[in-house]
Symmetry: none
Subunit: 305 residues, 2 copies
DNA sequence: CACCAGGCCGAAAATACCTTTCAAAAGGTG
DNA sequence: CACCTTTTGAAAGGTATTTTCGGCCTGGTG
């Protein structure tokens, strides 16, 4: 490297470690000591860090109507060893700027939202659901429900529609650790099953509204037959609570037109179900752990190499 | 290879410009499909983005005790055209991290954790899953999948076990807005269904591992019969991707003994499914909105007063 | 007006860095 | 243990960046 024309360089180390944020300021400060074409480059770089970071020396030279050499010289003036490093700094700067614009979407999902926004909003809403449910979950009730499940002779899970899927999720998990569980989708079948239950058995009902007749009915029957009953519901005051020994409350996000309650309640319900499962697995660890790995092994050959 | 101007990169699924924030998640998601030395590189990169960004290929290869070739290969796996771009992303990521947000690492759930802690940890892990998945979701692919679904003559959803439940969730939603969807639980039935599909139909496969034979098979059949195929998987490099026109990647939390992958993947899958649904509902708003309220009304009398 | 510094600028050579290729090594599998 | 597949790094092959070098413009001077 040759001259630095101004050759000001107060200190021995001319190129200070460049703080990314300082870039715009640096451009302004150093602009006077730059030649015209350098200024063009500096301007482009300061004006659109993200865009510039995506370009190679050649690309940036073209865009600014200059040459590679000029771009490199500019980078040097700005305090970097070369363009390569300036480019890295630009990428960093761009990211920093992007991060600064706090998105914080809490708005409803609208019909004309672009998909990227839908994704972000949904993720946040569901995360909110999880947090709310976790916060509102009564650990004592949960503990009691876990205790009942862990020692149950037989477990019935009642749910309709989306809630039935949650129930099946629970059943699948319980089966994996050797518990006898069932989640009839047919309400009549559910009642038929419920009749069989007695003390020592557990019935779990899942309903967001707490008022779904087809779910209340079997739980009532189970309750009256002496089974331990658990309700997972968003309305702990609802009718279903009358027949539940233990009530686990789910929280649901506000519903909107495009996102009905059924949709948001599912996330909460699943969290509760997971908690139940983990709790039971902990209690029955001696048998649950080997059972889990056994089922894992058994499924291994169902996968391609 | 040319330079990366606007240059749309290679293949059918270019996996889009990766958002910087998604990197840590991506490493976790893709780690299983990596070889040992690649994992070393990925780890170094995820563990110290800033430090890695300062290194050249050769430098990073040395630090990780591998070769340049491996570093480049890793960069490719992570979704970048080459190391140069990964390096830029790392610089961006480092800046973003430095700007404030802590990544928040969750501890494993232990056998003797009290239930209250289990609840908190589970909620946080699932929230993390959601965030990771949202960050890693390729909007372009999602858009394409939504487009296909919205105009589909018939929709098949393939999934086994827990993934089947996710599939049924999707089916239930689609049915509510008047689309013809089906999620056979029986693999043979699935193939039988797949044979019926042709151009204009859509097949969606859901599998965390991307290697579940019983799910790949029907998707392949559907693919070969000309249907538009969508894969929702945690391993976008997996075999299933071969037969998928559009790949939607789910991110999964680290699995632990008590919390197998199947469990954590469900949350991600459901988010993707929700996104698909909302997307489709938006596109078909004219018919979807009344259909939603109709089904709501129809179910009203199934609830206690 | 012709001429001449003196520094700015870009084309092209030189270098550093990144990518690809390919054959050897490692790891399975029958 | 022979065979095949996969993984890996060394080195060749390309790109991008840096440096060199000479032309060119600007503004001053005889």
């Amino acid at each position: 490297m040759k001259e630095t024309f101004g050759a000001v360089t107060s200190g021995p180390q001319p190129s200070a470690p460049p703080a990314p944020g300082a870039l715009a300021a640096k451009v302004r400060t150093l602009a006077p000591s730059m030649t015209r074409s350098m200024q063009r480059v500096a301007e482009a770089v300061a004006g659109d860090p993200a865009g510039s970071a995506a370009l190679t020396v050649t690309g940036l030279a073209e865009r600014t109507g200059t040459s590679e050499a000029t771009v490199v010289r500019t980078a040097r003036i700005l305090g970097y060893p070369g363009y390569r490093d300036l480019r890295l700094a630009l990428a960093a700067l761009a990211a920093e700027q992007a991060a600064g614009r706090a998105p914080a979407v809490t708005a409803d999902i609208a019909v004309d939202d672009p998909l990227a926004e839908v994704v972000a909003k949904l993720a946040q809403e569901e995360a909110q659901c999880l947090a709310d449910t976790a916060a509102g979950l009564d650990t004592t009730q949960l503990e009691a429900a876990v205790g009942a499940l862990a020692t149950a002779r037989r477990i019935d899970v009642y749910g309709i529609g989306a809630s039935n899927l949650v129930g099946q999720d629970l059943v699948q998990k319980l089966l994996r650790i050797g518990l006898l569980a069932h989640a009839p989708a047919d309400p009549h079948l559910a009642v038929t099953n419920a009749v069989q239950l007695r003390a020592g058995d557990v019935a779990v009902a899942i309903t967001h509204s707490g008022r779904t007749t087809d779910v209340i009915e079997p739980l009532r029957v189970a309750f009256e037959h002496g089974a331990t009953t658990v309700a997972i519901t968003g309305r702990p005051q609802g009718e279903i609570a009358q027949y539940a020994d233990h009530v686990l409350t789910t929280s649901s996000a506000r519903e909107s037109e495009l996102r009905p309650a059924a949709m948001s309640s599912r996330t909460s319900q699943l969290l509760v179900v997971d908690c139940l499962f983990i709790g039971v697995a902990q209690r029955t660890y001696e048998t649950a752990a080997p059972a889990l790995s056994d089922t894992y092994e058994a499924l291994a050959h169902r996968h391609a190499p």
